[in-house]
């Protein structure tokens, strides 16, 4: 399972072996850097850090490197060669270099479940990781990089929990990584350009797509050019954007604008969806029309994956265009928590180019922090990369910012807002009316259980936040955000018993390792 450059065991085989020691692992057992996420940000960071002599471990719960955008089919699909994603020419090279790099310790299939602190690791932190079969371990590291990516923005409306309702990202993953496509008539609805890409992907797989509904006016080709440059797809595909639209129309796909899905209907599975006209702020104006559909694919955009950052206690800031709550950081990608850095989508959903650039800069900052020589040119180059990427991404972010208030209004009294705990909008409304002293989402969470389930609130935070904001006539940001706790993904109580078993770093520390020098201290 795990792979390391040396012969040292990785956690995969750990069990009771010598590499797992009880608490008390000293500084020698620590990695210099633990990276969570092997997408563009995490891969770039790990390689850059290794280039500067850091002992690096990368943890990703997927089976292979690549992250969301370059998700690779499982290795068992032997026929599948890594196809270069056009426009991201660097991607193939980055993944190949990453996979071949002997210096890195990689742990695929392991989820990072939280960060703890142990007095036995002064100046370090303990990254807890869990594997469905192999249990729980902690990894001691001097620095942590959060490169956990993003996920589809969930929107609650009547019927959204019916089987057959899927997110664009999930469909893309199914088709790309698992080679499975939905069967039947598909309707796609949302506001993000990824919808067009997914519609195109489905049409090419031979799936019948009946309609693609955009909440805003259909982006003009010029808008799309900007948009796709920063988020999905790639430069060469930009030229094809118009082509996608044309191809969809040619295949009998209706592409509508100013249209929002207000309900999904069906007994045990989606059979019909209701689409309604909306105004410029996405408020429903007309009576919905029904469209038969076996699947509804939603694509309203992305939310930054910030559970780990929240669990650690990093400050977040509310920035709707950037994807809601994003992790605060300085110009070297340091978070508010000493020793913890962030790169990629958790800083704001900005696409693969920016993720990679941020990964590089974060690694350089970490190397400098740990006393390595970092050239000014390298830093300047990484910063330039971020500036370039940001020019695109801010355009996209502004253009495709979801009208969250209107989306919040889609949930009716009986609509389940929190799927994990099956809490309806009506329960929330009644609670808020009876409890005028409540004005924060965590107070709502504690009383109503919304966000208390295994997903840590990532599915309902947006809905709860907008419902609270409109009930209290306060800005969404003032209502706060759900806190997250270890384990950020559930693990059996029995697995927590080994939370004090450390995975040691490979013993051959680079000669210039910082040892116990004060500059490495994490906890102030």
């Amino acid at each position: 399972m795990g792979r390391t450059g040396t012969d040292h065991n990785a956690i995969g085989q750990a069990g009771t072996e010598h590499n797992v020691v009880g608490h008390g692992t000293g500084q020698a057992g620590m990695f210099d850097l633990a990276v969570v996420g092997a997408g563009p940000a995490g891969m770039a960071a790990a390689l850059t850090a290794a280039d500067h002599g850091l002992k690096v471990v990368v943890v990703d719960e997927q089976q292979r490197a690549g992250g969301q955008i370059f998700r690779q089919p499982p290795e068992e699909f032997t026929g599948s060669v890594l196809r270069p994603t056009a426009g991201y020419g660097w991607a193939t090279g980055l993944i190949r270099r990453f996979e071949a790099d002997e210096r890195l310790t990689t742990e695929f299939g392991w989820s990072a479940i939280g960060v703890l602190y142990d007095d036995a690791l002064p100046g370090g932190l303990c990254l807890a990781v869990n594997h469905p079969q192999d249990g729980t371990r902690v990894i001691g590291a001097r620095r942590l990089l959060i490169a956990t990516g993003a996920y589809d923005l969930p929107v609650a409306f009547p019927g959204w929990t019916l089987p057959g309702v899927m997110t664009a990202g999930a469909v893309q993953t199914l088709v790309k990584a698992q080679k499975i496509a939905p069967v039947g008539d598909v309707v796609l609805a949302g506001a993000h350009p990824l919808l067009l890409l997914v519609a195109d992907l489905l049409v090419r797989e031979g799936v019948r797509v009946s309609e693609v509904a955009f909440a805003q006016n259909i982006p003009k080709p010029a808008d799309l050019l900007h948009a796709l440059g920063a988020v999905p797809g790639h430069v060469r595909m930009l030229a094809e954007t118009g082509g996608i639209l044309a191809r969809l129309v040619r295949n009998g796909v209706r592409v509508s604008s100013r249209t929002v899905v207000t309900a999904a209907r069906g007994e045990e599975h989606v059979a019909r969806v209701e689409l309604a006209r909306v105004d410029r702020r996405w408020k429903v104006t007309g009576t919905p029309r029904a469209v038969d559909a076996s699947h509804l694919v939603l694509g309203y955009g992305f939310s930054a994956s910030t559970e780990l950052a929240r669990q650690i206690g990093c400050d977040l800031v509310y920035d709707s265009p950037k994807g809601g709550w994003v992790v605060s950081h300085d110009d070297r990608l340091r978070t508010s928590v000493p020793g913890v850095f962030v790169a990629g989508e958790p800083t704001g959903v900005a696409g693969a180019d920016q993720s990679r650039a941020e990964g590089e800069l974060a690694a350089l900052a970490i190397a400098a922090d740990l006393g390595r020589d970092v050239s000014a040119t390298a830093l300047a180059e990484a910063e330039r990369g971020i500036r370039t990427a940001t020019r695109f991404s801010t355009v996209v972010q502004r253009m495709f910012e979801p009208a969250r208030e209107a989306l919040g209004d889609l949930a009716g009294r009986d609509t389940t807002v929190c799927r994990c705990e099956t809490v309806t909008r009506g329960t929330l409304d009644d609670f808020l009316e009876a409890s005028p002293f409540v004005s924060d989402v965590n107070a709502v969470k504690l009383s109503c259980r919304t966000g208390m389930g295994p997903c840590q609130g990532r599915y309902c935070e947006g809905s709860v936040g907008t419902i609270l904001a409109s009930a209290r006539e306060q800005p969404i940001g003032l209502g706060g955000r759900f806190s997250a706790h270890l384990p950020i993904k559930p693990v059996p109580v029995g697995d927590l018993r080994t939370l004090d078993s450390f995975l040691d770093a490979p013993p051959d520390a680079p000669p210039d390792g910082p040892g116990g020098d004060g500059s490495g201290a994490v906890d102030g």
Binding site: L116, G313, Q474, P487, V493
Partner: protein, 400 residues
């Protein structure tokens, strides 16, 4: 001064909410303020045990310490009776079940401890009974075979810390109290008729404003911030802060009807009415401190690997079927104790009209603390001897 009250309650934990509710029922004009939201600190983070037996932390330091801790028993017995009728009086569920609490033992030493405890507790009027292994087979079949005996207190049980304080706050509002969140008491000055207190509040636009209100009396129900508030009123209220760890599981079919504690290990567990299992027992977390070592209660405190692991081991040892149950979150809560394990309850010396209660199992004891404080506010003489809980007992002589 436009705004005036009979009492300002500082703190929207269970204690503050109960006090505001009871005082409002008494006819007082009450303002409750919390710097954050109702129930966001200890009262919403704790294990929800209603424990009346002496806890492990009270007996681990030896028999003499246990005897001192037992002096809180009158408050416990009062609380046990109050919890039994609280839901009816509030008119909402607080998740209360007093279906018995077991303190379990695994070896002869621990059984000896149970015997000593039971005798001490009975001498204070708490009914406890020691169950042997064969009785446990029928009463608590979910317990590990390694458990050889347990003390049962029929009054013990649980309430739901998640919902209790907000429900009481709603009752307080219904009784006429004003409840203001995001409102921090930052200053106080003594007046001939009481106090002018300064409140810093964040309004719905995010703007921060300051106002002063006049009040005859003040109740400090501020948990770990008690010492800080004491200073605002010029009084010494020393408390010892603790950061403790809790873990909760996903929902599983009901199988643990009791509160379960351990005579020789840090462990408390119970199944809430939501069917989640709450695991705690006093495992430490790292309390955040500033450069000078002063605690910083507004920061996020840190989990310690050994504590989570140790707590999980203790839980699975006692209830083996928990091994495969998903844990969904572990968190840190902060609370106060006093050096002698007894609470601080009563009038604050040197600050006329100011009252305080905190320390120890203040969730369990919340109702009796609130009843005592409400009585003091109304000028009634307490029916429980408060001398052992005198807030000034550690500062006597040292205050100028």
């Amino acid at each position: 001064m436009s705004e005036s009250y009979d009492v300002v309650v500082v703190g929207g934990g269970l204690l503050g909410c109960l006090t505001a509710w009871m005082a409002a029922r008494d006819g007082a004009r009450v303002l409750l303020v919390d710097k954050d939201q109702v129930n966001q600190h200890a009262s919403g983070q704790n294990a929800g045990s209603l424990h009346f037996q002496l806890e492990y932390r009270m007996v681990e330091a030896g028999e003499e310490a246990a005897r001192v801790a037992a002096e809180a028993m009158p408050l416990h017995l009062d609380a046990a009776a109050m919890w039994a009728r609280l839901e009816e009086e509030i008119g909402e569920s607080l998740g209360v079940r007093q279906t018995g609490g077991l303190m379990v033992a695994e070896n002869a030493d621990q059984v000896g401890m149970l015997e000593f405890k039971a005798e001490l507790e009975r001498s204070w009027g708490l009914d406890v009974r020691t169950l042997d292994r064969s009785e446990l087979d029928t009463v608590a079949p979910y317990l590990s075979r390694d458990i050889v005996a347990a003390n049962l207190s029929a009054l013990e049980g649980k309430a739901d810390a998640r919902i209790a304080a907000p429900a009481v706050a709603r009752a307080a509002v219904a009784a006429g109290a004003a409840v203001c969140a995001r409102t921090r008491l930052t200053g106080a000055s003594h007046t001939p008729t009481g106090w002018d207190v300064t409140l810093r509040e964040t309004d719905r636009t995010g703007e921060v404003r300051t106002r002063t209100v006049r009040t005859a009396a003040v109740v400090i129900a501020a948990g770990v911030w008690t010492t800080e508030l004491g200073q605002v009123f010029g009084a010494g209220l020393p408390t010892v802060p603790l950061a403790l760890t809790m873990t909760v599981t996903s929902k599983v079919p009901a199988f643990i009807p009791h509160l379960v504690q351990h005579a020789g290990a840090r462990l408390s567990l119970k199944q809430s009415l939501d069917k989640t299992v709450l695991i705690g027992g006093g495992w430490p977390a790292r309390l955040m401190r500033d450069a000078d070592g002063a605690p910083e209660f507004d920061r996020k405190h840190q989990l310690i690997p050994r504590s989570i692991a140790g707590n999980a081991r203790a839980a699975v040892n006692a209830v083996p079927s928990l091994e495969r149950v998903p844990a969904v979150r572990s968190w840190v809560g902060t609370t106060t104790v006093a050096p002698d394990q007894l609470p601080l309850v009563g009038a604050v010396k040197g600050a006329p009209g100011v009252f305080v209660a905190t320390g120890g199992s203040a969730f369990t004891l919340g109702p009796s603390f609130a009843r005592v404080l409400t009585g003091l506010l109304a000028g009634r003489s307490p029916d429980i001897d408060l001398a052992p809980y005198d807030p000034a007992r550690f500062t006597e002589g040292s205050t100028p």
